[in-house]
Symmetry: C2
Subunit: 251 residues, 2 copies
């Protein structure tokens, strides 16, 4: 099955803005990074601009992401029924713990947070919403990862492991055995993996088919989280079980 090359390259172009530190990018820069000719990149940009996906700064002649992408991104959120369904449960957890509560979903080989309720503490942890990260990187992601096919797990762990702190997993085998643990005990708790001094507790959401494609987590400073860990683990398991059964899961 062949893909449309120019479409694929345009998608790569747009996504390049996600990993670029500057919000405006030039033709030459893009052509180098994407290893495409300047002419080709220019034609792609012109086409994307005509559809509102890209705009050009008249002053700098450089290009930036257009509002049409904002419209489309918002549509993705609107389509996402799970958030609406889960929201009341997140709020309940937030009230019980007063820490950051997140809803995390899987997308192919990545995970991302699609909803959250912030803690009310003056010192609180914050997550980047709507940004991809590896399935092994955070508690919320790992608890989903643990329920994935073994083939996906092996496949992903074959690649280079991205570490975020000195305490992050870096050995594929260590991750794999942790995933087994997670699956057995039904939740995941970890500290310092993604951010030093931060502890996350996460539990999976099962849908009617018994599949796990989302998770809920409580995240906060370790000094507040660890003393309450038994209580928090109990709460998150209770709530996620209730959601799963509401989703039609009989496990």
């Amino acid at each position: 099955m062949e893909h449309l090359s120019s479409v694929k390259n345009s998608c790569r172009l747009l996504k390049f803005f996600l990993q670029s530190p500057s919000k405006e990018l030039g033709v030459s820069d893009l052509s180098r990074k994407l290893t495409l000719s300047k002419g080709a990149v220019h034609k792609m940009l012109a086409t994307l601009e005509s559809e509102g996906f890209i705009r050009q700064n008249p002053a700098t002649k450089q290009y930036y992401l257009g509002y049409t992408l904002l419209e489309l991104g918002n549509q993705v959120l609107k389509n996402h029924n799970l958030s609406d369904f889960v929201k009341p449960y997140l709020e309940r957890l937030a009230q019980m713990s007063n820490e950051l509560i997140t809803l995390c979903v899987k997308d192919e080989r990545d995970a991302l947070y699609v909803d959250k309720i912030d803690s009310q503490y003056p010192i609180r942890f914050n997550v980047d919403m709507y940004r991809r990260f590896p399935l092994y990187a955070t508690s919320a992601a790992r608890v989903i990862f643990a329920h994935c096919n073994l083939s996906l797990i092996d496949d992903l762990l074959k690649e280079d492991i991205r570490t975020f702190t000195p305490y992050s997993f870096k050995d594929p085998e260590a991750i794999k055995s942790r995933l087994l643990e997670i699956k057995q005990q039904g939740y995941e708790m970890s500290s310092n993996m993604r951010n030093v001094g931060v502890t996350g507790i996460a539990a999976p959401l099962f849908d009617a088919n018994g599949e796990v494609s989302a998770s809920i987590s409580i995240i906060g400073p370790s000094d507040r989280m660890l003393p309450l860990k038994e209580k928090l683990i109990g709460q998150i398991i209770e709530v996620t079980k209730e959601i799963s059964s509401q989703l039609g899961y009989h496990g």
Copy 2:
């Protein structure tokens, strides 16, 4: 200048999800609506799926917008400095009026709300964020429209006027003369144009070049807004003048 046809068609395909009532669309449906062959649409969808812009529901075989678009849309918001800059002023207006405050921007021939602060009243008006609408449709948009080139104005008013209520403008000449009024008095106030029983008051933001590409508005139920209109007009003009001068405008 030729555009890349497959890229253009893929953009059209993605945008079609914005105007579709259902969040999942099939190949046949899309091919009919876009007047493209099923084979071509299928190839586009497969390519977009490989880049995370589209996903397929295995159960229904239909397609829906992917999380990558959420990432990109979020990036657009992050890049948008104006919101950060303007936010404190919006909050000030919100405190003063306790009605919905919006930040509206122009994008080509459309306008969209990119930021807002909700009213605290139990009965309050709400706007769709990040959705395009015509430059003549709302107070917030018209106050921007009034400062556009005459060529753009004439161009846009040549097309069919979309009306939203029985009170919406539908005559191009009426709109044009209203735009002159707006430009002269420096603000716009209107009722029932977009939603019956709703009144909006809007004033433009001038940048350092004296251009208007954004506006701020106060929107609420007419029965609360109208008795206070002098006060509200004064407040919004005061605040927008302050923002404009902070943006480097000396007018």
